[in-house]
Symmetry: C2
Subunit: 204 residues, 2 copies
Amino acid sequence: MPRRSAPHEPAKRGYHHGNARNALLTAAAGLLEKLGAASLSLRQVAERAGLSRQAPYNHFKNKEALLAELAREGYERLAASLAASRDAQGRNSLERAAESYIRRAQEAPALFRLMFSRELVDLARFPAAAQAGAAAFEALKDIVATCAPADRVADLALAAWSLVHGYATLCIEVALEPADRRAERARLFARILRAAAATSDAHH
Amino acid sequence: MPRRSAPHEPAKRGYHHGNARNALLTAAAGLLEKLGAASLSLRQVAERAGLSRQAPYNHFKNKEALLAELAREGYERLAASLAASRDAQGRNSLERAAESYIRRAQEAPALFRLMFSRELVDLARFPAAAQAGAAAFEALKDIVATCAPADRVADLALAAWSLVHGYATLCIEVALEPADRRAERARLFARILRAAAATSDAHH
DNA sequence: GTTTGATATTGACGATGTCAATATTGATGT
DNA sequence: ACATCAATATTGACATCGTCAATATCAAAC
């Protein structure tokens, strides 16, 4: 499902202006942050894209499917952010990854909510989106693997994801604290995870 | 806003069957887990409570206000759970609190989602609910205070809440892993937090 | 018993998601 | 050049929803 059509394919297919699908997704992404996923209506999306009422149904099965595609794109960008944090130089990839994750939540809260809530989109019904989400988690696991003993990576990656995701969620949902503490919190979480990795106690 | 009227007040006030407000809340709580907060309609709530279409508007300003009351009750029960974990005997109150928190999410995911999402209810507009939520966090902070140095309680309580909330959220939203690992994860998180509390490194 | 205020109900309206039916377009085969 | 066809687009229609107004009904106070 490429967002932009490949350069060698005929650029315009439909008769109106061709890339109606992209126009719809762009319009939807804009409305998403303005109204929230629940209040966003397909009719407004269509109008903003300069199309008719029913246009979304030419490209998506229903509202949930359109939202699922937005979520998928969000997961893809998140995974790219995390991979970039991992590949950059320096030993503090964990801090950088945590900060990216939190920043994404704070800069596009409605999209973040959409990605991580079954309320409006059930990811299980959209394998492409679910797979993109799994890929993002894999990127995070890679980072944790660089600073934890092998037999603890699974547990610590789970804890890392939970910790950062929980903080990001609480920030945007409960207004836990202002966004300018983001970097500081990313450092705190990285320190906690490294301390946990360094502790060697029995599993029972 | 007592859920059940005090025994000395006249039990029935309205002419239909008096405690219409309770009937509406009970009906709404039932439908909430069946349909989700977004799909739940006030008309269905009213019908299930044996009342007319417009009955909810006699007791709540609008749909959001009714949902906010459900969230408030949820926060109150959560705070009670955490306080009970703290007051029970034994030194592992942290594990017990984490497990309670996760259990609540898994047993009533729609309510949990409602409590922790601005999508449908903006807590800032419902001070009673917001205050109940703050009380729950205070209970958690009390527990962390029993196993962390005083100058780290704030940071570690934040981390504890984030860690447990993140895991609970990911479990119900992304089907991270089955519910039977709950106790095991509660122990893992408690161990991580204690390890972080035991580490004494500089803040910069 | 009449007044009164809270509570309950029905009517109405605009908005929404979505199904059906129809129309339009650009490409294709001749 | 033209008929064909599948993809794409549009309009019509319907049930459902949240919510405002207007109205009806009860319980208690004077």
